[in-house]
Symmetry: C2
């Protein structure tokens, strides 16, 4: 039985929602979970539920890292912080993967310090699965781990994203694209133009050329590569406009009684749409390139997102994501 | 009377829609226009309308530049291309500004070659006015003129955008922000972190710190500064997701008869919403930093967008945008 370590103290709704999500994953999917955090608090939460005893264990951690703390410094100083202990469980082999909704920077630092990098990787990248209107996922890597990237690091992201799409998303021969401002190889900033050339020369990747952000969610590609600055800005722009539009719809649909009545009729449709675009469906984003499975959840994650993240971590383990990444980079 | 030169041959719907838009601007706003292009074709289009004769003149240009042509090369080779001739009219003082929906790169090249740059500006930037849900405009600069930018060039964009917001948008003391991945001054890529410091030290700018793309359309700022690669990707991401969401809404609202009926009731609301977000309202984006008024329209511009662009160019002239930019950079 491969257990998934869960940082019970990380995130805005820890430990309540984190423990609840972990228990849900145990019950619905039979996944084994190690909850890491204040044993007293975690056991208190666990008392609320009934679950198979053998599938949940608790590992005590006396500290936790706050959302505002300096990532590298806090990880170095707090050796017994819940997310550091969780990372160490993966390193020692007691857990096969770990999940945290805590401080993203600290999560990256703990993953790097404890697990190290896969040979051939200079910097790990965060892979975010975009829920798209056509129901097909697109992987955006790097969506925020490193603000600056060199061309060869974008190529490394391409290999990581491709391995992830193959193993976890079960896409046979993932089409990898480069995010740019035009489809021609001459379009882009200096780093992207150089990366385009390198990717074209990389025989073992299914490189589909450049893709524009306009078609990020509709293009016939599976993996979209960019640096973490551009990726993070793109991701948040999409989130922001989606939220703004849904807000505008709500406002317009309550402006007068006739529209409000129409609004009631179309509400199920809008709900289905919101569900299709719901990021918590995917539960978390893996930090690819570290030598172990590390899943980063949004700080605002509630039980549902945590449950999905545990499920996701489990999938990454059973589909041998790590082996696939290592082989891809040989 | 300050005339606005309009490239009659540029854009997907030239010359029909371009001439129509120019005539509309003449009739509704009393703006004087010089149409530049094949005299025969332009006169043929003009015969469709009646308008005050003294407000429209035609300047013949024997060539035009296609959408796929190499910007700098085509501008250098085709001395009598419509958009080059239009730029030259501004240089010679016969026109006060010029507008084109043609090849964007060629438009930039012609503006640079013919008009030169404002002292203190190394690279001009495209300023796009984002139509936002709250009805307040936000200026995004650079939205695509230069893929790479140095920190000091981002500062130049800040001055240009601020002058534009003051003069054309009549915002008294424009709040200028830097697009980044977090609000702290330490967040961003190397160039952005350096630019943040420079902007903080620039006493004559109302610098509001960093803004994230998530709040691009809601933040309490007037001008958002970024390099052209990030700006173009952000802009197209917003466009793409808005289009995708509107498509999904349509689909969901026709899934069954009940929803379709509800859809009819809410349709006016959705239309009002689409109008609020309609980019053609603003008609064009000025290339700021060149020594003259140059307005770039989308290649797909129809009459309405062209009319608004001419109106916009006229506003830029009467509000002394050029003088404001020059003084801002002194």
């Amino acid at each position: 039985m491969r257990m998934i370590a869960v940082d019970a103290m990380g995130g805005d709704y820890a430990p309540e929602e984190i423990v609840k999500g972990a228990v849900d994953a145990v019950i619905s999917d039979g996944i084994g979970v190690i909850l890491v955090g204040s044993e007293k608090q975690v056991r208190e939460e666990l008392r609320k539920y009934s679950y198979p005893d053998n599938l949940i264990s608790v590992v005590h951690a006396s500290e936790s890292i706050g959302m505002g703390e300096h990532p590298a410094k806090s990880v170095r100083r707090k050796k017994d912080a819940s997310l550091v202990v969780a990372a160490r469980l993966v390193k020692s082999g007691q857990a096969a993967a770990f999940v945290s909704a805590g401080n993203t920077g600290a999560m990256m630092a703990a993953s790097l310090f404890e697990l190290g990098r896969i040979p051939g990787i200079e910097r790990p990248g965060i892979a975010t699965v975009l829920p798209c209107p056509d129901g097909l996922p697109r992987v955006l890597i790097d969506s925020g781990a490193n603000a600056d990237a060199k061309a060869r690091q974008l190529v490394q992201f391409a290999y990581l994203g491709s391995a992830f799409a193959k193993s976890v998303l079960k896409i046979e021969d993932p089409r990898v694209a480069l995010l740019s401002v035009g489809s021609e190889s001459s379009k882009g900033n200096e780093v992207v133009i150089e990366a385009h050339q390198l990717l074209q020369d990389a025989g073992d990747l299914n490189f589909a050329g450049n893709v524009e952000s306009r078609e990020l969610m509709t293009a016939g590609v599976d993996v979209v590569v960019c640096d973490g600055f551009v990726g993070n800005i793109t991701l948040k722009a999409v989130e922001g406009i989606a939220t703004a539009l849904m807000g505008m719809i709500k406002e317009e649909l309550t402006k007068n009684p006739l529209r409000a009545f129409g609004g009631i009729l179309v509400k199920p449709g809008l709900k289905e749409m919101a569900k299709k675009m719901d990021y918590s469906e995917y539960g978390g984003a893996p930090l690819l390139g570290v030598n172990g499975i590390s899943i980063i959840c949004h700080g605002t994650s509630r039980a549902r997102a945590v449950k999905n993240a545990v499920h996701y971590a489990h999938q990454a383990v059973t589909s041998d994501l790590l082996g696939m990444m290592r082989r891809g980079l040989e």
